[in-house]
């Protein structure tokens, strides 16, 4: 019966082969990039030219909040309540999607749901937003001087996020370059931004900058004192050839609800917290900034969902995450910042 055990050999070998090839795939191709100083990498990032590409990205968040059930309707949740829940949803749930960039002012962002998709298509001055779950489309014509597409479409992509972080944070930040990383099969510099101040919840932000093109491939945000990133958005696949031009010519499908939106109303294009009625006031700079949103018509703290997620503190209710604290003050104002609670309370008092 010495033969018997050898029959089980394949069953032992197969998992080893699978584990081996998975490990190999994870290891492979981390080619060496020439050394660069943080300043050089920043310059590489800043000076990158227009590069048509298509890429798949994934965004994961683990900020220490329970995941909200999808499509939670906040009762009576118009305006602020809806804005807060949608911001929460963006913070706590994971997304995958794709981005296509063609000629200048041609871009398409797709955010995937299991059986749905949200699309933002920018083609010159035409902007389309399509939501498959509702079969609803909205169209906007941008004024000629509307600037680049990053403000309209790609809020969720590594590109846009990296640009915003750098713009906002560089003055108060210490820059360093870590060991090269590989993202979407491409070698990249890992530019690390560490806040100079202690008065923030953010431990570090790392941006993987493509060694060749200077394109940001991944952004991770790690909370102070944590090892694993609380937030990560990265390309999983990147193709530096120009996508098919047809992708940017969007015609809403037959039967869809089509709405024509006038240009200033940017609310539809993603960032709903920046609704025109309640333009937030920002106190402080850099990592310590606190945004204050004025009181809406309803008392937010009374919403059952928010009551569940928040805890009572001096001066209001606190929604606490690893990266961001939100204080719903007793007077109805909402204070948001990547800062400790004390700073939010101080900001609420100082107004």
């Amino acid at each position: 019966m010495a033969r018997t055990w050898s029959r089980w050999l394949p069953a032992a070998v197969v998992p080893l082969v699978i584990a081996g090839s998975v490990a190999f795939a994870a290891q492979a191709g981390a080619e060496d990039l020439p050394e660069r100083s943080p300043g050089d990498v920043l310059a590489l990032l800043a000076d990158r030219g227009h590069q048509p590409f298509s890429g798949e990205f994934e965004q994961t968040s683990d900020v220490g909040l329970p995941q909200l059930p999808g499509g939670v309707e906040v009762p009576g949740g118009d305006g602020d309540a809806a804005a807060v829940t949608s911001a929460l949803e963006a913070l706590t749930s994971d997304h995958t999607g794709r981005v296509f960039v063609g000629e200048e002012h041609q871009a398409r962002l797709q955010v995937f749901d299991t059986f749905g998709e949200r699309d933002v298509i920018v083609n010159g001055s035409d902007v389309w937003v399509y939501e498959s779950a509702e079969n609803a489309a909205a169209h906007t014509t941008l004024p000629a001087d509307a600037g680049d597409h990053a403000t309209t479409g790609e809020q969720l992509t590594p590109d846009a996020i990296a640009d915003r972080v750098v713009e906002a944070a560089v003055p108060t930040t210490e820059l360093s370059v870590r060991e090269d990383v590989e993202v979407a099969g491409r070698a990249a510099y890992d530019l690390v931004l560490t806040p100079r101040t202690d008065a923030t919840l953010v431990g570090e932000v790392a941006i993987a900058v493509d060694g060749e093109t200077g394109q940001p491939l991944q952004v991770t945000v790690t909370a102070r004192g944590e090892q694993a990133p609380a937030f990560r958005v990265a390309y999983t696949l990147l193709d530096l050839t120009a996508p098919d031009a047809d992708l940017f010519a969007f015609t809403p499908p037959a039967g869809a609800d089509v709405e024509e939106v006038s240009p200033p109303a940017e609310a539809l294009q993603g960032d709903e917290t920046r609704s025109p009625d309640h333009e937030p006031t920002v106190i402080g700079t850099g990592w310590e900034s606190v945004a204050i949103i004025e009181a809406g018509e309803r008392a937010l703290a009374d919403q059952p969902l928010l009551t569940q997620l928040t805890s009572a503190v001096d001066g209001g209710r606190l929604l606490s995450t690893d990266l961001v604290n939100v204080l719903i003050a007793d007077d109805g104002r909402v204070l948001v910042g990547a800062v400790p609670l004390e700073r939010l309370q101080a900001a609420a008092g100082s107004e």
Binding site: T4, R7, W8, L9, P10, A11, V13, V14, P15, V17, I18, E56, Q67, R98, Q110, F112, T114, F115, G116, E117, D119, W128, Y130, S132, A133, E134, N135, A136, A137, T236, L237, D244, L247, F250, T251, P252, P253, A254, G255, A256
Partner: protein, 279 residues
């Protein structure tokens, strides 16, 4: 005569296996049950006073009235989590255990069928059934959809509109994806089938495993495990209905299922080639 005997007729067992599979009333009953799902769905939509709006009912249902072919896709959405794997569990779980409980396994082995050859043939016939099962849903869906709603332009998840030809290709791809999804399950079923002489027990175990895997896939605490569950990409065929097609999940699924086939095939080989057939 001895020279004659050394000649082998390898394909005969597979042909015979397929005949046995498709001559069973049980097989046809399962295929008929699968076919009834798109038919029921299409008839209900046709008879309802108002066509379903966006987001109502199962995914793509609102598309059905524009293009009947979406009946096939919606039916696959409905059948993939439960009905389809259930039928695959019956066929694959019964593969060896069923022969054992009938007693025919011993006669096949002394014929001699060869244990490895028998195992390979059994898996091949399970694959054929997976193809037949998803093909049945797809073709019935097409037929009933085209008959009740006609064919026309279809809207993809990305909002782009495609013509009839493209819609056929896309739904074929969805069918291919669903078939591939079942291959790993069939391999698991084949392995479980070598563990027991009770066909019904093996079928039930495979069916339960399907449900357990899907439940585990819902638990966020087990996120690290999710990419390794054979059910992980089962509903990922939505990616084939985007513009342009997202191949990532299709390819990942194919690799994952291949890994399951290799691993559970190896386990089934280890078990079956050393098993005492006492039934």
């Amino acid at each position: 005569m001895p020279g004659e005997k050394s000649r082998t007729h390898g394909g005969a067992l597979l042909v015979s296996e397929l005949r046995v599979l498709f001559r069973r009333r049980r097989t046809w009953a399962m295929l008929a049950a699968l076919a009834s799902i798109p038919v029921l769905m299409a008839v209900v939509v046709r008879l309802s006073a108002e066509p379903p709006g966006p987001g109502e009912g199962p995914p793509f249902l609102d598309q059905v009235t524009n293009n009947g072919m979406f009946v096939a896709v919606t039916a696959l959405v409905l059948t993939t989590p439960l009905f389809l794997p259930l039928t695959v569990a019956v066929v694959s779980g019964d593969a060896i255990a069923g022969e054992a409980s009938l007693g025919t396994l011993r006669y096949l082995l002394v014929a001699p069928a060869g244990r490895v050859r028998l195992l390979v043939v059994k898996y091949a016939s399970a694959v054929a059934f997976c193809l037949a099962a998803s093909g049945t849903v797809l073709l019935t869906g097409w037929a009933i959809g085209a008959a009740l709603f006609g064919t026309g332009e279809a809207t993809l998840l990305s909002g782009d509109t495609i013509g009839v030809g493209d819609a056929v290709v896309r739904s074929l791809l969805v069918g291919a994806h669903v078939t591939i999804c079942m291959l790993g399950l069939a391999a698991v079923g084949l392995f479980i089938s070598t563990l027991t002489d009770a066909g019904v027990g093996a079928m039930a175990a495979v069916a339960v495993l399907t449900i357990v895997a899907q439940v585990l896939g819902q638990l966020d605490q087990l996120a690290w495990l999710h990419p390794w569950l054979f059910t992980h990409h089962w509903l990922a065929f939505a990616d084939l209905l985007r513009e342009p097609i997202v191949w990532t999940s299709f390819m990942q699924n194919a690799l994952l299922q291949a890994a399951y086939v290799a691993f559970f095939g190896a386990l089934a080989y280890g078990r079956f080639s050393t098993k005492d057939v006492l039934s």
